[in-house]
Amino acid sequence: MPDHDNLPSLEALESRLVRVPVLDPEALEAEVVGVLGRKQGALTLLLRRLPSLPPEERRAFGASVNALKQRFEEAFGARREALAAQATEARPLRDLTMPGRSGWIGGIHPVTRVVHRVVDIFRSLGFAAVDGPEVEDEWYNFLALNFPADHPAMDLHDTMYLEEAGPPGPGGRLLLRTHTSPVQIRVMQAGPPPYRVVIPGMVYRRDPFDPSHAPAFSQIEGLAVDEGIGLVDLKATLTHFARRFFGPHTAVRFRPSFFPFTEPSAEMDVRCRICEGAGCPTCKGTGWMEILGCGMVHPRVLENVGVDSERYTGWAFGMGPGRMALNLYGVPDIRFLYEGDMRFLGQFAGTPE
């Protein structure tokens, strides 16, 4: 920087900057006027000298002054905030209706909440939570589960297959699992009975993404296999679950249904929570809400994984935590569940699960 008779005062000014963070409120305001004041502020005076400088120096000098001005403004601002914060902290609690201070409150997703509640209830009944791959082959997803090849039952599972370079492997084509049931097969292959597991996970169907469908959604499934397990246990355990989940006086009914991998098969309904049985649009006038599908594990499924179906019997169930979340929290559109809208997810923040 060229020599100039005004420059020393610019540096002197700069050295005053370091003292700003310790100024008390009065001294701070005096310093603000002293440095930035519109008439007698030191920087203002410096800028006024600009026209008297040789033209080749004006630009550099002006830039230096402005840079310094900006640093002073920042320093003053920071000190003011610090002083204000101190003042607030020191302020006695007067108006106790003023809002308190907190950090952000996080939250667990509504579907996960349902999954956790389901898993917790079943853990208390001796079940363990297990998982498995989301990409499966036809054997695990269908054949091992007693889906007859190319049968109308397959129409219930509109399946998405993977693009494969080579021919399909021995288990058939690769696909996105359409239910969590293939994990039953993997559990039973891994070791001997007894089995008591619940299986949460994502499953896939070739459905559009609209208010009542999603191409990927959450499912939870349970399996209990041992000697001496019958439909009576299934009814009792799932009724117990429904009462723990929905409330101690929840009415439950089991009605016949069909799944290739269970027989006898059933659907479990609970009394409609909206109309309590009177019949309303939510329960299509039946007074009941379908909660889960269940049944006694088909002997052929047991035989497919080498479990002696004459010695062992068992039951399984499957339900959709997403659909339960919609019901439980009154959410009108399934897409809310699989999008990250802060305004929606924020409604599930902080509250206990």
Binding site: S102, D150, L231, V232, R255, G285, T313, Y338
Partner: protein
């Protein structure tokens, strides 16, 4: 499947309450999705008795009628129907009534004469196309009675969900059988109006036969197991009578002509699709069921010219294919107004063959739906006779010869053994033998033998192709006994042989902790558009938006940040735990990995009035801490390292298991910067916690202000400090960084707070000062770092 309540009532011979019916159907395994009135909008229409008819004084074709509507008054009604006559009853819509069309009846004047209501035609009531005249009512219903009641127009359609294993419930008879067992009453085929025609006996023959000169053949017995044919001559093809039309309308079918309506009626009654051909348009005096030959095509009833897939079952005459067997008939032999003689087909087509053909043609019909699930091949002759009965009643004609019944391999209905012990084992409760037998009788599977006291031999009825093994009968016993009657007993259990999956435990741990950090859990779809690096692709995606499996979580979360911005939400803090997929070299199956990712943008805390509603935005330091926290939880064996402009997590073997840094997004002007991280979840045990004794001696603190060249990272400084300080150093923290006046360019001042403590004794100032000197010397030697003097 659509059911008509009236139709079921005709089977059961008693009225049914629809609410109770719905409950019973649900408990039998056929829940109703919907119950709707078949004839809506007739509530206001009553029976009107015309007592007097006189010509309109000012119009040639109008009449003035005096109508008794059940009240003391008589209504003046102007009517233009030529068939109106005194002493007859007609549907009457009084002033204020609304008709199914939405028309509201008002008091008005027609050519100067007042009219207080309307006498209605069938069309005006939505009951048919007939508008030639008003609908004359039979019977002696009192004037003023609700019209719908007198005409049995209060039918309801029940839309039931039939599971794929129960083809028998695709006909009213099958449903009636179940209901009859449930109510404990008999059921029988409804009798039809008019005089009963006499029906011929039907004799079974092999793969070939003749009826009325038509050569009939099954050329592919695997695809067509039974084929019956009958010729009816002299039929009148025209509109069906009211009773038949109503049945069809009730189940949602459009009445077409008498002959076609008759086949549809039997399909919905007995679950047996039939097809009528115009005999005059049949070529070569022959008809055959065979497999399609290569290159064959057919023009189907819907007007489409269709190439036939190899192996499709077809019906052919002397000229070639005339219909797709079990799916749809052909245009060339369609029954029309001109038809006088018909060939009626009633067959059993193989379910998998029908399914394959239906899928190949992309043509699903009421008939294919039923054949695919299985019709009762033992009942085919009865179905043909029923259809002939309906045709003779509604279209007349005569059966010109004994029908032909080709059934090359009738076989025997399946026989299954049921052990009582097995019933007890599967249900978990012992049922009385009588209850088991009653249940089997109710499904139509009678016990034909008892080889020993514990075993029953059961003959499976033809309408239940789903009953093939013992467990199927166990289900029937449970179903007929009633799931609700079985006890519900929580019994002792053994723990399973499988433990909680480590990955589930690890996910739950990470999830709870990140929510504790103020982040909201999101779940996004693991399907997306393809990324350039080569994602796992789907063969049959529903849309290009969902054609690939995600390789990473962050892009999805970043889209959600943008979605929030688009809703004017500036403060975004999301995390997700989910699976990602990578093609795995040398394996068809992709690799799956569970990961956790998070994004933050906007205010670091909620605004508060004590800070004038301002909160600083999230910055890289928030991210670094969050990332370190997540790595420690999700992948404890990995260490966080600095990478150009961000951080990464590396395991000791060198594998990179996570990254963090600023992200670029399509941000509005007012948005804050976005930061994010993604870490692979390792399924390890939970971190081990252990007790360390709490200190009993006081600590000494010293602050150092150091001038540190920018080239020397703070981490190195801390390392040198730690090495030089000795065992008494407990902790060292960077308190402040300062650049500016007093510090040379290219350097910064770091303020470091040191804490010293000895577990056994109180440290003396002299010792601590010594340590500080050691540290300063070491920093000078190692990095040329000096104490700040200004």
């Amino acid at each position: 499947m659509n059911l008509s309540r009236h139709w079921l009532e005709a089977f059961l011979g008693r009225p049914l309450d629809s609410r109770e019916l719905v409950d019973r159907l649900a408990m039998l395994g056929a829940p109703a999705d919907d119950v709707v009135p078949v004839h809506a909008g007739l509530d206001d229409v009553i029976v009107g008795l015309v007592e007097e008819v006189r010509p309109h004084p000012h119009a040639d074709r109008l009449w003035i009628c005096l109508v008794n509507d059940g009240t003391a008054e008589r209504r003046n009604v102007v009517c233009g129907a030529s068939n109106v006559a005194a002493g007859h009853r007609y549907p009457f819509a009084p002033v204020g009534a609304a008709l199914p069309s939405g028309l509201r009846i008002e008091r008005r004047k027609l050519r100067g004469e007042p009219s207080e209501g309307m006498l209605c035609s069938a069309r005006e009531l939505g009951l048919g196309d007939d508008h030639e005249g008003i609908l004359e009512l039979e019977g002696v219903a009192a004037p003023g009675t609700r019209f719908a009641m007198t005409q049995a127009l209060d039918d309801q359609r029940l839309v039931i969900d039939v599971t794929p294993n129960r083809p028998d419930l695709l006909g009213h008879k099958g449903v009636a059988r179940e209901l009859a067992a449930s109510y404990g009453i008999p059921f029988r085929l409804p009798s039809l109006p008019g005089t009963s025609p006499s029906l011929p006996a039907i004799q079974r023959s092999g793969a070939r036969g003749v009826t009325d000169g038509i050569q009939v053949a099954i050329e592919d017995p695997a695809g067509c197991g039974r084929f019956l044919g009958a010729v009816v001559r002299g039929v009148r093809v025209g509109p069906s009578p009211e009773w038949l039309r109503r049945r069809l309308v009730a189940v949602g079918l459009r009445p077409i002509t008498s002959v076609v309506d008759a086949t549809n009626y039997v399909m919905f009654e007995l679950n047996q699709p039939l097809h009528a051909y115009d005999l005059a348009r049949l070529r070569g005096g022959m008809i055959a069921a065979r497999a399609a030959r290569s290159g064959e095509r057919v023009l189907t009833l819907d007007g489409q010219d269709r190439p036939l897939p190899a192996g499709a079952m077809v019906i052919a005459d002397g000229s070639g294919v005339i219909g797709v067997a079990g799916v749809m008939g052909g245009k060339g032999t369609e029954v029309t107004d001109q038809t006088t003689d018909i060939f009626l087909e009633c067959a059993w087509f193989s379910p998998p063959r029908t399914r394959a053909t239906r899928k190949a043609l992309g043509l699903s019909t009421e008939a294919s739906y039923r054949f695919e699930r299985g019709v009762d091949r033992w009942n085919a002759a009865e179905a043909l006779r029923r259809c002939l009965e309906v045709i003779l009643r509604v279209a007349g004609g005569t059966i010109s010869a004994e029908p032909v019944d080709l059934w090359p391999d009738p076989g025997h209905p399946a026989r299954i053994f049921l052990r009582r012990g097995r019933v007890t084992q599967v249900l978990g409760v012992e049922l009385p033998m009588t209850a088991i037998e009653e249940a089997l009788v109710a499904v139509g599977a009678p016990v034909v033998a008892k080889p020993d006291h514990d075993r029953l031999a059961v003959e499976v009825p033809g309408w239940r192709p789903d009953l093939v093994e013992e467990i199927d009968l166990v289900e029937e016993v449970a179903r007929q006994y009633g799931y609700d009657r079985l006890p519900s007993e929580l019994r002792p259990f053994r723990p399973g042989s499988v433990d909680d999956a480590p990955m589930i435990l690890a996910s739950d741990r990470v999830r709870r902790e990140l929510a504790g950090q103020g982040l909201l859990e999101a779940v996004t779809l693991s399907l997306g558009v393809g990324e350039p690096e080569g994602a796992v692709r789907l063969m049959n995606p529903l849309s290009p938006d969902f054609s690939c499996l995600r390789r990473r979580l962050l892009p999805g979360l970043l889209r959600e940040v943008e979605r929030n911005w688009s809703q004017q939400v500036r403060d975004v803090r999301l995390f997700e735990i989910g699976t990602v997929f990578h093609p795995l070299p040398g394996s068809a199956r992709p690799a799956e990995e569970v990961r956790v990712a998070a994004v933050v943008s906007g205010g670091r805390t909620p605004p508060h009035w004590t800070a004038s509603g301002r909160a600083p935005d999230f910055d890289g330091w928030d991210l670094k801490a969050l990332f370190g926290f997540a790595v420690a939880l999700a992948n404890p064996a990995a260490a966080v390292q600095v990478e150009d402009g961000g951080w990464l997590a590396r395991r000791t073997d060198g594998t990179i298991v996570g990254r963090a840094g600023p992200l670029t997004a399509d941000a509005p002007r007012w948005a804050g910067p976005v930061f994010g991280f993604e870490v692979t979840l390792a399924s390890g045990p939970a971190p081990v916690l252990g007790y360390r004794p709490l200190p009993t001696t006081p600590a000494s603190e010293r602050d150092l202000a150091l001038v540190v060249p920018d080239t020397i990272p703070a981490a190195d400084v801390i390392r040198t400090v730690a090495a030089a300080a000795g065992v008494e150093r407990e902790d060292s923290t960077v308190l402040d960084e300062y650049r500016g006046p007093g510090i040379p360019a290219g350097s910064r001042s770091l303020a470091i707070r040191l804490r010293f403590r000895s577990p056994g004794r109180t440290l003396q100032d002299r010792e601590v000062d010594e340590a500080v000197k050691r540290i300063v010397r070491a920093l000078e030697r190692a990095h040329g770092i000096t104490l700040r003097t200004a």
